[in-house]
């Protein structure tokens, strides 16, 4: 039996790009999006169709798409099938949906979002993720971002020994309000370059935080703001990561390099789960020493890091994309037989 006529769908944020990129590596298909930047990002790699959220269903029908793989929990399947009743909608997670708990400890967001139950198929990264999902049509495929890591030059890239990458979360988890001047001063004091990668939501929800960081960049040459659709391209350059509870800390485990966590009052206890894999600096703690140690000694916390990696990435073979597509093919056959 043939494979379905497939399409990928990403909404506007850059955080939606990497799953599509990993899937495109495994199988070509048109990319639908509501965002200009996603359109520009994929325009050389695939046929890209940009339209409004409301226009997506009609656009998918016009191309006779049978299965769409979406990264979005905001664009509900009911919207996509509105003008195209036979369409099957498959959800594949991006960074946010890798979390296996709800927002603020409640059962509302991420894997617990009500919209998840309405997808025809949900593809998830890990056993924990699989256990947390209520949708019966939920299959574990592994981490798509790890595919990018395996098939790129990330493991072998010659990183910069005095470069730090700070990848904070956003909202109450964000370490920037509590730590920005300290990080700028401490990285200068140890003669390191510090790259700050803001969470994509910061640009939408926290303009004051973004501008505070931009001002520090204008006043300090060693401090840079970076912006990229694939954070692995920045991670590969850095010798150590400064984090809080952002999901990218888990991605960093792939590089097996030191982590420094900035603790602050905005974090709940259960959100500090990965802290044992790195050096934790408490509010008011001595940051310079922690950063210098992280740059100097790659072995610090190595065992804990590797244990965390093994727990997080049980399917680390670089074939999550292939598993996703073979799973879709299998479900398509099942759907076709009904």
């Amino acid at each position: 039996m043939r494979s379905p006529r497939l399409a990928y769908l990403a909404e506007s944020g850059f955080q939606h790009a990497f799953p599509i990129s990993a899937l495109l590596r495994a199988r070509a298909a048109p990319v639908f999006t509501t965002g200009k930047r996603i359109e520009a990002r994929f325009s050389g790699d695939a046929e890209v169709i940009r339209t409004s959220t409301k226009g997506l269903s009609k656009a998918l029908r016009e191309r006779d798409i049978e299965v769409v793989v979406s990264t979005s929990q905001r664009i509900a399947p009911s919207t996509l099938v509105a003008d195209h009743p036979g369409l099957k909608v498959v959800f594949v997670g991006h960074g946010e949906s890798d979390k296996v708990f709800g927002q603020s400890g409640t059962k509302k967001g991420f894997v617990h979002a009500a919209v998840n139950a309405t997808f025809d198929l949900v593809l998830v990264a890990s056993p924990a993720h699989r256990r947390a999902h209520a949708n019966p049509n939920c299959e574990r495929i592994g981490h798509l971002k790890h595919d990018l890591f395996v098939h790129g030059d990330y493991a072998t890239y010659d990183f910069e020994p005095r470069t730090l990458l700070w990848a904070p979360s956003w909202g109450r988890h964000n370490s920037i309000p509590a730590w920005l001047p300290r990080v700028v001063e401490a990285s200068a004091a140890i003669d390191a370059q510090c790259l700050l990668h803001l969470h994509p939501f910061s640009y939408v929800a926290e303009p004051a935080v973004v501008q505070a960081a931009q001002i520090e960049m204008l006043q300090n040459r060693h401090f840079r703001l970076v912006s990229t659709w694939n954070i692995l391209d920045v991670m590969k350059r850095a010798a150590a990561l400064i984090g809080d509870v952002s999901a990218v800390c888990y991605d960093w485990l792939m590089f097996d390099r030191p982590l420094v966590f900035l603790d602050h009052d905005g974090l709940a206890e259960e959100e500090r789960g990965l802290f044992e894999a790195g050096t934790v600096v408490a509010p008011g703690g001595v940051l310079e020493r922690a950063l210098e140690d992280a740059l100097r000694d790659r072995d610090v916390h190595r065992e804990a890091r590797r244990a965390a990696f093994a727990a997080r990435f049980p399917d680390a073979d670089g074939r999550a994309g292939e598993r996703a597509l073979s799973t879709i093919d299998a479900y398509y056959r099942r759907w076709s037989q009904r």
Binding site: Y203, V204, A208, Q211, L218, L225, S227, T228, W229, D233
Partner: protein, 705 residues
């Protein structure tokens, strides 16, 4: 030399001015040379700061002086920060419990700027322990450099105490509520409330008195049987209460008045208060004179070798809004080190207004050129329009006009305060566009050919369109407004048609006539035309921003967008905003009747000439002439009209010379300052022919009101 910067001339009658004036006198008496300067003249402040050994910074205006505060924060001159209010507070009152900004205030640009200004000061002065406590949470504590000083006090001016009435002047709803509670608890006491308007129900024993000038207000306070100072907001000191105490009169006040934090209550004897005043002020003068002249704190300024401003996916109004931002960068970097890429249409409009290398966005290859610049400022409406390329090695600043930190400040002010916090300040406070002489001349001839005399007629330009129809007040209403303007004021109507707005023009012309229809014009020629307008009425559109920028007072009619952020930037402007039941902006612009816009327009016309006589008072204080006993300027105006210019007031003379030639309001304001021009209008020196019609406007205003 010691410089003194302050919002108002020290001759003004307020307690702040009285205190600063006394400080200046005391320093002079101690042998120091003191020069004063008004805060609104940024260039003069800069010159003064360059020459001064020490700068005393008095009360700055909460809105327009924010950029000055930012500039002073990074200026190397030594500073004495003489706080009289809460400059760091966006609404100036510090009523945090009810303030809509409370959640974001501490992170706001305003607080950051004042925090930096405070940190850079050699001496920080507060009026009371309460004032200090209420401020330091925001601007941080520097106890080693902080001094508490009681302001210069005055006793009541008269001995007469009227009947049993109590006089109050509540300044906000919370304070008004406290006074009403007091009145209800004292039903036998007649309470005279000197307030602009009532908030909620008014008890029977309360009499409302319309607000008036400061002197009349003091007379009411002084003459009352009991004075109520029941503030909910923290009053830094309590000058009015002090007046009563110094005169041994009854007063009721709450712990929210800073005077009470000195342990003073209504039973305090006047001698104690006077002793405190003298003692603290002596300490202040001594501290200023003792400051070490060798200490020069320098604020951080960014190291930028060259910069690109890449503005794309913007409407014309957005590009106009960028002008002060671009001006500040050009001022900081110099023309050879700033390149600006703009949409070609906008470059044609504003390209010659900024001293920078200007290029067209459409032909600009940012990826090929970005490495040539030390810093790239990319500006667009929202995050989805940003350049999709990775930014890893360069210094790249993404700025979204639609998402700025302070939703209660206009977009251009947000951009300026961003630069201000980064240590970059510039000369221009709001977007301004100057048309070339030939463009103005062409527009003049065109108006004359249409039977409109720019020197005689009241010209109202109307633009019923906007970038999106949801932002448009119905063209039928514009037509009704035009009919009113013509019938009531004899106004000449210039109708502006934007791209793709032929249908709006047709609808308008079905309901009203226009003396001139400007269609298919370039933005520059429309701008030159509107520069002759007495007043412009438009929606939230690029042409409304253009009218503002070329110097036309503007009435903006706003629907779904927030006028606080996107409203006209001219200092003489008015906004009529459609609101829904919840008080939020709404696209239902048809709910706005013609009369609402007409009233706003009349009110603005009156403001143009009459509303701010206090400014004239300030200006005349500067040029050393006196008003009449009744506070008017009749004698001076008559003298100038009959005898010519009195000796010694060269600035007025220069203004008169300028007034002989046809000159628009904004050109004059730019050259001579708003106050001087308004003074000239009030005294009749500058009487544009249309001002004669203001009598009719005033009558119509009364009718409508």
């Amino acid at each position: 030399m010691i410089g003194l910067v302050h919002a108002l001339p020290l001759e003004a009658p307020g307690a702040v001015e009285r205190t600063l004036s006394w400080v200046a006198s005391a320093l002079t008496a101690a042998g120091a040379e003191v020069e004063t300067c008004l805060a609104r003249d940024a260039k003069a402040v800069d010159r003064l700061a360059q020459r001064a050994d020490l700068l005393i910074i008095g009360e700055l205006r909460p809105g327009p002086d924010l950029m000055l505060a930012a500039a002073l924060a990074v200026h190397p001159v030594r500073k004495v920060l003489f706080n009289f209010g809460y400059g760091f507070c966006a609404i100036g009152t510090r009523v945090c419990g009810r303030c809509p900004l409370a959640g974001v205030c501490l992170r706001s640009d305003r607080v950051q700027i004042y925090r930096r200004l405070t940190a850079s000061a050699d001496l920080i002065v507060y009026l009371s322990p309460l004032h200090r406590e209420m401020s330091e949470h925001f601007v941080e504590s520097h106890p080693e450099r902080t001094l508490l000083v009681v302001p210069r006090l005055e006793a009541c001016a008269n001995d007469e105490v009227s009947g049993a009435a109590a006089v109050v002047h509540p300044n906000d709803p919370g304070e008004f509520h406290a006074v009403m509670q007091w009145a209800r608890a004292h039903p036998d006491t007649s309470v005279r409330v000197h307030a602009a308007r009532p908030f909620g129900e008014v008890p029977e024993n309360v009499e409302l008195v319309s607000p008036s000038g400061l002197e009349e207000r003091f007379a009411l306070i002084d003459g009352a049987h009991t004075f109520l100072g029941l503030a909910e907001r923290p009053i830094p000191f309590g000058d009015a209460i002090a007046r009563r105490i110094l005169s041994g009169r009854r007063v009721e006040f709450s712990p929210h008045a800073g005077i009470s934090s000195y342990g003073i209550d209504r039973r305090t004897r006047p001698e104690r208060l006077r002793g405190l005043e003298v003692e603290t002020q002596r300490a202040l003068v001594s501290a200023i004179l003792d400051l070490d002249s060798t200490q020069v704190p320098v604020g951080p300024a960014p190291d930028i070798r060259s910069a690109l401003v890449w503005a794309h996916d913007l409407g014309m109004g957005d590009s106009i809004i960028l002008l002060p931002f671009l001006g500040a960068l050009a001022h900081r970097l110099g023309p050879d080190r700033l390149t600006v890429a703009l949409p070609a249409r906008h470059r044609a409009l504003i390209g010659d207004q900024v001293d920078a290398t200007m290029v067209d966005h459409e032909s600009f290859d940012v990826d090929a050129r970005r490495d040539a610049f030390d810093v790239v400022f990319e500006i667009c409406i929202d995050v989805d329009r940003f350049h999709p390329a990775d930014i890893v090695d360069g210094r790249w600043v993404h700025l979204q006009l639609a998402r700025q930190p302070n939703a209660y400040q206009s977009a251009h002010e947000n951009l300026l305060s961003f630069l201000g916090r980064a240590g970059i300040t510039g000369p221009q406070q709001r977007p301004k566009i100057t048309s070339r002489d030939d463009e103005r001349e062409a527009a003049y001839r065109r108006l004359m050919a249409a039977g409109i005399d720019p020197h005689e007629d009241l010209i109202v330009s109307l633009h019923p369109g906007a970038g999106a129809r949801v932002k448009c007040w119905p063209a039928e209403r514009f037509a009704a407004l035009a009919r009113l303007l013509e019938e009531e004021l004899g106004a000449k109507i210039v109708l502006i048609e934007g791209l793709g707005e032929t249908d709006l023009t047709s609808t308008f012309l079905e309901g009203a006539r226009a003396d001139l229809v400007a269609a298919d014009d370039s933005a520059r020629s429309v701008g030159a035309l509107m520069s002759w307008s007495t007043l412009h009425v438009g929606n939230d559109s690029g042409l409304t921003h253009l009218a503002s920028a070329v110097g036309a007072p503007v009435v903006g009619v706003f629907g779904p967008s927030y006028a606080t952020r996107w409203g006209p930037t001219h200092n003489l402007s008015a906004v009529v905003q459609a609101l829904d039941e919840a008080g939020q902006p709404t696209g239902r612009l048809s709910s706005l009747p013609t009369e609402s816009v007409f009233v706003a327009l009349l009110s603005l016309l009156l403001r143009c000439a009459f509303e701010r006589p206090s400014n004239a008072q300030r200006v005349v204080a500067l040029v050393d002439v006196e008003p009449d006993e009744d506070g008017s300027w009749t004698t001076l105006a008559t003298r100038i009209r009959t005898d010519g210019v009195p000796t010694g007031i060269d600035t007025v003379a220069a203004l008169l010379v300028a007034a002989i030639a046809p000159t628009r309001y904004d050109d004059l304001a730019w050259t001579f300052s708003d106050e001087l021009v308004e003074f000239a209008v009030v005294t009749g020196l500058l009487g544009p022919a249309w001002a004669r019609r203001l009598g009719a406007a005033a009558r119509a205003f009364e009718v409508v009101k």
